[in-house]
């Protein structure tokens, strides 16, 4: 979940509530769903929140929400914009993988150190969330006074006076001085040797041409990787050029809106920019107010309370929305709710109802048990599993619960069986456990690379880890085993398996067989144990478990090599078979 650092002094300034103590602010923010996590070294408040209200990724957005909560502001606010003076021309050479651009000009900013820090943080947090680590959208903010755009205007490509161009550049094409560097570099050099370049190189690695933004002087930004040093923003900057590139126009337009709202909150003036694609021209930022229609009934039924229309409108306005109640039928009232352009989380009218609930206070609602009658019950599989487990426990087995993920050596090699390949994949029918495993693409560690094909290896590992504990150790587990099976829709056959081990100084085949007999007898199943060969067991002391005529597992005395491999100094008798054989 995102964490945002907020300077409490700035928060007091921006909300206009100098009288609020830090603790009061923390309480008020908890009401918005921002949870206080601690303080930074500089004394800023660290606040964690769910990633829906991305407009709260900086102090300006948090302050705006608080002013609505306090009742200082009501309804939708849209900043006024000045007409465009600048154009972003989109050249045909722009890489197909990253075709979209947007932007805005910001005039008369006054950035002190805190405000500049906040702007940089907002940029980074937007990159991390909506921008999907800059892959979907990346923001570049430039000192406007350092840009020269007149030449383009002279060529008459645009009605506006000044222009910059978004285009593609050869990796070894034009050179520029990136941020935090002293020398001119080509884009390829940046990816190769600049620290920031190395971090984001993967984003453009597959591109034939790299994205680049030019003004009259030349290349000044290499999105989504790094800006040029020439246009670096400082506390002296008065006018800014904000540009965003990405893989989706809507996404970068919303990111742009959130930046514009933050700077507007600090008294700056937003100025439109024209984005000139070969086939169309857009005027940005896009401050369109969207509308969602929701009925009064839906609000009442979802919250489970009665509300007057005035109250609903009041709650919506306190959420920064506007609403008009309207009769839409027999006694039915619906609201056309206006949603401001920074609210990226509102997709459906239901999201507006959530705002009403938050403004009302969900914790003020009285819980009630739903008056709905249904009949409960257990699944047959889980009933069978519990019944079998009860029999095992009655026979004195300690019931265990192991991970379904395991490593290949544990599942195969240490049990003296090999992982079958291709045509061997059916070997499982002869040698329990020898099945093709479902493997994990990017495992957490080498201990958990696949799903176990049988459960005995897990029990052997428990014995191995408990040699310092008292014997006898009679352990059993009923759990999942899985194997690749093309006949299954998911490609994996999942089954429950019953495994038991008897570790004691005189453990014998007879002990295991006696218990297996007891289990099958309890389920009125017919048991036969014809001799078989299984590498995990001693030759001549292993048998197939055949229940009601079907070969479903194996029983025997564990092979000494397997025992020594697991650091065991006493014999182990064991069995494993499919649970569904008892059904």
């Amino acid at each position: 979940m995102p964490v945002v650092d907020v300077n409490p002094d700035e928060l007091r300034d921006l909300t206009g509530h100098d009288e609020k103590s830090d603790d009061e602010l923390i309480d008020d923010m908890f009401g918005l769903g921002l949870e206080f996590e601690g303080r930074t070294e500089d004394g800023d408040l660290q606040l964690e929140f769910a990633p829906d209200r991305l407009d709260r990724l900086s102090v300006e957005g948090v302050a705006r929400s608080l002013r609505y909560q306090y009742g200082d502001d009501r309804g939708v606010y849209v900043p006024g914009t000045n007409d465009a003076d600048w154009t972003i021309a989109v050249d045909e050479s722009v890489p197909d993988e990253r075709p979209y651009v947007t932007g805005a000009v910001i005039r008369d900013v006054s950035l002190d150190e805190d405000a500049l820090d906040s702007l940089i943080q907002l940029q980074e947090k937007l990159h991390a969330t909506m921008g999907r680590k800059r892959a979907k959208g990346a923001i570049g903010i430039h000192d406007l006074t350092m840009l020269k755009g007149e030449a383009a205007a002279v060529e008459g490509q645009s009605a506006a006076g000044n222009s910059i161009t978004y285009r593609g550049v050869d990796p070894d094409g034009d050179r520029f001085v990136p941020l935090d560097a002293d020398a001119e570099m080509t884009p390829a050099d940046v990816l190769d040797s600049h620290p920031t370049g190395e971090t984001y190189a993967d984003l453009v690695a597959e591109y034939d041409r790299y994205p680049a933004i030019y003004d009259d002087i030349g290349l000044f930004s290499f999105p989504p990787v790094i800006n040029g040093r020439r246009t670096e923003v400082s506390t002296d900057s008065r006018d800014l050029f904000v540009e965003l590139t990405g893989t989706d126009q809507w996404t970068i337009d919303r990111m742009c809106n959130i930046i514009c709202y933050a700077l507007d909150a600090r008294g700056a003036k937003v100025e439109a920019v024209e984005v000139e694609y070969p086939d169309r021209t857009l005027v940005r930022p896009d401050f369109e107010v969207r509308e969602k229609t929701v009925t009064h009934d839906r609000i009442e039924s979802l919250l489970g309370i009665d509300l007057s229309a005035e109250r609903v409108v009041d709650l919506l306005e306190r959420s920064g929305l506007d609403a008009d109640p309207e009769e839409v039928g027999d006694d039915e009232v619906a609201y056309t709710v206006e949603v401001p352009p920074y609210r990226v989380d509102v997709l459906h009218p239901l999201d507006v109802v959530d705002d009403v609930g938050r403004a009302y206070g969900f914790n003020d609602l009285e819980p009630r048990y739903p008056d709905v009658g249904t009949v409960g019950g257990r699944h047959d599989r889980s009933k069978l599993e519990d019944a079998a487990r009860e029999v095992l426990v009655g026979l004195g087995f300690e019931d265990l619960l192991n991970f379904h993920m395991i490593s290949e050596p544990e599942n195969f090699d240490r049990m003296r069986i090999s992982r079958p390949e291709g045509s061997d994949a059916d070997l499982d029918h002869v040698v329990t456990g020898a099945a093709e495993p479902a493997t994990i693409l990017e495992p957490y560690s080498e201990d958990y690379t696949m799903l176990r094909t049988w459960a005995l290896p897990s029990l052997m590992m428990v014995l191995e880890n408990n040699t310092h504990r008292g014997y006898p150790q009679d352990l059993a587990e009923i759990g999942l085993a899985a194997r690749v099976d093309d006949a299954e829709n998911t490609g994996v056959a999942e089954r429950r398996t019953v495994a038991g081990v008897l570790a004691r100084h005189d453990a014998s085949y007879e002990d295991a067989k006696a218990r297996l007999q007891a289990i099958t007898r309890n389920f009125d199943a017919d048991l036969e144990t014809p001799a078989t060969d299984h590498p995990s067991f001693i030759d001549g002391r292993a048998a197939a478990v055949v229940i009601d005529g079907e070969d479903v597992g194996v029983i025997g005395e564990i092979h000494p090599e397997v025992l020594v491999e697991h650091d065991l100094e006493l014999p182990v008798a064991a069995f494993e078979f499919r649970l569904d054989a008892l059904a």
Binding site: G33, Y369, T374, R378
Partner: protein
Amino acid sequence: MKLPESQAAVLRAASADESRSIERLADETGHKPETVTGTVFELEDEGLVAVKESIEETVTLTDEAREYLDSDLPEVDLYETALDAGADADPVEMGRVIGQSGLEGPAVDIALSNYARKGYGVIESGEITADPDADPESDAEAGALADLDAGEAVADEAVLDQLDRRELIERDESTVRTVTLTDAGVTALMEGVETAETVGQLTPEMLTSGEWRDVEFAEYNVEADAQRVDGGKTHILRQTANRVKDTLVGMGFEEMEGPHVDAEFWINDCLFMPQDHPARTHWDQFALETPREIDELPEELVERVRDAHRNGVGEDGEGYHSPWTEEVAKGVDLRGHTTSLSMRYLSGNEVGDLEPPQRFFSVEKVYRNDTLDPTHLLEFFQIEGWVMAEDLSVRDLMGTFEEFYAQFGITDIEFKPHYNPYTEPSFELFGTHPTTGEMVEIGNSGMFREEVLEPLGVDCDVMAWGLALERLLMLMYGFEDIRDVHGTLADLELLRETEVLH
């Protein structure tokens, strides 16, 4: 007559003419007095002996009294020193006499308090006089101590009381039993008494032959610890899961079942999670290498889900501005939550189309690529539940949770508004820990979004929630490291010794 060995021995040792004490019978038979006492009563029941009981006082000397046997009583010492100092003529300064007497510590007080009482002299204003006529040689208390030590009785009650007050003796009353043979006993002896044998183990033969009537069972040390037996026990996490299952079944929920390895479609796409959602990367969920993708997805449902992602649901609904491909949806993962089962059931693909009202649950494993630490496992159990009905409200959701968690002692549930891509409104649930009283997060919940329900063909409300079973286990048992319990690093001793909860 055949009697057990101890009864036969006691009978032979008893006399018809003389009352014999238990101690004496014990001496003669070689049995412990306790054994003889029990045997005597058995014989009395059979009419072979008569038992007489009397209360007897025993007087024993304390350690302090034994010291005085070797030396003199402190007041006698004091008197003799006083005489030597000439206190029979004139009063002498007390400090000097005490110094010369060699009395120290508590002995000084003992000497002074008994000196005057016995008339050895007067102690006044720090001076001591000695009565020349006193006769410590015939001190009654010293004499009584000597007599008691010699085993003779002391008849003078006043002296005994005095010694008792001085804590020089301890007086105890005990029941003394004496035994005489009855006529029947004498007859039995004359007719001959045989000794029955002592046996260690009751055998089937003894029972069938009736021999058990004539044998005596060797005594065991019944207080000694026996060899340890551990027995079997259902795993405590299973027990906890079953408690949850019982509770939910009791509340009208039916259990779901489904694949652990499943298509992303059921795990994520049906849940309206955009395909470029950060939680869908391999860092959060385990994608499989083999197999790579599911064979088939329900075609119409795929189209409806795709449409919800692209265009949203309803007249003014909006979709995500994220890519959506069936290829991604078909990829198979280890499920990161059991909400995939809820999607399968709600879609009608598992148990047919569902008409409201319905309640379903599962307590099954899920898999997350999280950091392995004392409170996080790569595999854990998720409690999943949902209710489908017309016009459900947030209040119904709250009421259901209060009812459920109350069964586990967790009260004062708080609902923190939250965000999930698949529910709106959404709540994180917090509750009060049953023993420590602190606020702990206990689950995540909400009302399924229209974008989830409409593609599934559900046109009423569904509220749902999820909770880690391990969190409930840790709350109930107070475990600190979940790895001691779940997985191959489990500690058998811990599993064997964990207290049974009920």
